[in-house]
Subunit: 433 residues, 2 copies
């Protein structure tokens, strides 16, 4: 008898099958035992009125590992419409104590610190692990969409000789006796690689030593990075981003219905073109609609973003809004200015449900522009020598963006804290598990 | 007119098309100009007898960025059977000097230090970039094979509170004033995640502070990690590895013929079952065939591996050989011993063309076994508390392996140095580019 997955049970009605997994729950109700087995994919309910059937489970703590054989019975009122009868149980790993966090209830009750302290076990909860299976779906949808558009996946170094964008907020390490840093982003390398492949993407960890202590920041996260050449301006980048977001959500809708249902998640529809508004017009709109004058501010506040999100919903029926043309002052030195108004940039943020999800834009591509931009930013050229070599020897107009994997999940699932979208989060207080 | 890729030219014979890319080469021969344009995918040859056609390129250094329109002509003797006539050229980015490493020749002539110092430009060479496009193919084949077998992709933290396997050879960093380390492997996290998803994989960077200075080692590389539960023993793991290697090579054969041809690479056939030999039998074989007595040595030397590779080729016609049952002494504490002979382990190496490519095996899964193993290794349990929690609350028999992406490419392509299979290598001397 081959072992099958719990999620395939409905294909075996009338048959006797073998499952393996964890003792997820066991209850007695009026002489009837209800056992729930959890495997890596789902759960299965087992019903028995015969005490000896489940005798091997007597006093066995939850989360012990078992093999179970049983008859698959169509039962409309059972979860999934299927249950198992006439069980035969073998214990594989017998635990000696109950788990430190109760994961057998439908909703997990533990508070955030407990969930994070015991993430090793808490992530086994069906709702918790659904978040991380969706993370896999986001990565898969991201790659599939880009592969189909001729992008090449790259893996760039994370230990670097100098800070990516500035000296601040980088983790410093000891590299055989000399200083090195953890890459804050693959920004420089993905641009360099446009010179090789034209169109590249990377999925990998980025490291930010920001002393933030908010629900929206962690110090290590997974960045979905894109960069490509031969663009017209940042609108070319925004059009690609629209396709990528649509591709990610299509993958989730097609391949992860079970997880989305379990998490009560609602996949937004992506308009063929996501509405966009210029940064200056957005500030005008906030004054007009809310009477708050933010004109002249160099960036949008979280409240500004929420207001704009509401407006996009009301005006365009869209969960998404591009804000384009941020002032140059707040953007990194490699940002391409707006040729028509150089105080503003050819860069954008994508707001999703009123929160910044993606930052992107067109980059400088001329060597002389880089030398001038570094000089203007008061940065020496020498630490950027390798990066600058790409521009010295021919780069096309190019741009790109970076999506924070955990941020996307948090917004999509309405999670109250980014840490709940992170497998094993790192923050100022937390380096383990 | 839409811009097309050089690799699609043969679909446009008789049409006028637009290409974009880099000025890869330009030669004059007896009044005829031969221009080679390189885009992110391939190259195209342009032939012109009319001097004014290519006038915009006068004195323009190679690697400048251009747009080119031309008529597509079927020309059997041209590279790819196609060339462009009646070119019209527009210069997008005009360089001021020639590249620091000549990348327009068929074979790149520069020595290793120059190639690495100028990797930003050298990686544009068609043969160099083919290596890295194959890297993308390896990752894609790895993921596709595992997705089809019910594996879930994970991304685990790279900044960790304690060294993965021992205190040695880890990079230390400053984490908000306290020490942290870069993960030497996702070993602990992938095992933990077997408790969540049963079957997991990860593609990501690993960091080794080994003071090696050899052609086979770098200090940061990409590890293709797999771990899965409910195995019988290490032979279950070896069978999966065989499928994964076959899946990777199938992807390369199907999707990367151009790159394989360019690099004169020869994809090995994977036998339905890769031959295997026990560690002790391998040592006996070496004595028998080569008169060298290595019995009692706790590991195989590179020479031993080469001899065994030759034997596998002669005896089994196989580029691959599993050596199983390494002595426990040289394996990490989580290694499962051979129940029949506890001096040996349920672990293996996979040799590919006489060099170790993959290490894997069955792991301990019982909490009590972990406590005993740590004690035996003289390691305190406390730094491993989070890891041990997984075993305390129920883990099935499980195992896995890790493939070094760059090692696989080096062996497959017959490259003389691992650095040539690494986009931007990190070694004791090199932190840039």
């Amino acid at each position: 008898m081959n072992t099958i997955r719990t999620t395939d049970l409905s294909q075996y009605i009338g048959a006797r099958v073998r499952l393996h997994g964890w003792l997820h729950n066991l209850r007695q109700m009026g002489g009837v035992s209800f056992l729930v087995l959890r495997d890596g994919y789902g759960t299965a309910q087992v019903v028995s009125e015969n005490e000896t059937d489940l005798a091997p489970l007597t006093n066995l703590p939850l989360e012990s590992v078992i093999i179970l054989e049983g008859d698959v019975v169509h039962t409309p009122q059972a979860p999934g419409g299927v249950e198992l009868h006439r069980p035969h149980v073998t214990v594989i790993t017998s635990n000696s104590e109950a788990p430190p966090v109760a994961i057998h209830k439908k909703e997990i009750k533990a508070g955030l610190p407990t969930l994070l302290d015991h993430a090793v076990i808490a992530n086994r909860h069906p709702q918790r692990r659904a978040v991380f299976r969706l993370a896999a779906g986001v990565m898969a949808g991201f790659r599939t969409t880009l592969n189909n558009l001729g992008f090449t996946e790259i893996q760039t170094p994370k230990m670097v000789a100098s800070a990516t964008e500035s000296g601040a907020n980088v983790f410093k390490l000891d590299y055989f006796g000399r200083p090195a840093y953890l890459a804050q982003s693959p920004q420089f390398y993905k641009q360099i690689m446009v010179g090789v492949f034209e169109r590249v993407y990377e999925v990998g960890p980025v490291f930010r030593a920001e002393p933030h202590d908010t629900s929206r920041h962690v110090n290590e996260y997974v960045s979905l990075d894109v960069e490509f050449g031969f663009i017209e301006n940042h609108f070319t980048v925004m059009a690609l981003l629209c396709d990528v977001i649509a591709g990610i959500f299509a993958t989730l809708s097609q391949q992860h219905t079970a997880e989305l249902t379990l998490l009560h998640a609602n996949i937004p529809t992506i308009p063929a073109e996501i509405p966009h508004i210029h940064f200056a017009a957005a500030q005008e709109l906030i004054l007009q609609l809310h009477g708050v004058d933010v004109r002249g501010e160099p960036d949008l506040s979280p409240q500004d973003e929420r207001w704009l999100g509401e407006w996009a919903q009301q005006e365009h029926g869209s969960d998404f809004l591009f804000v384009a043309g941020y002032p140059m002052g707040k953007r990194p030195f490699y940002t391409h200015p707006d040729p028509a108004n150089p105080a503003y940039s050819n860069s954008f943020d994508l707001l999703f449900r009123g929160t910044e999800l993606v930052t992107g834009g067109q980059r400088l591509h001329l060597y002389s522009d880089y030398l001038a931009a570094l000089d203007k930013a008061g940065l020496p050229a020498e630490p950027f020598a390798a990066y600058l070599e790409a521009f010295r020897y021919g780069m096309p107009p190019h741009g790109g963006f970076a999506i924070g994997l955990e941020r996307l999940l948090m917004q999509l699932l309405g999670l109250p804290n980014l840490r709940l979208a992170t497998l094993f989060p790192r923050d100022m207080q937390r380096l383990a598990p």
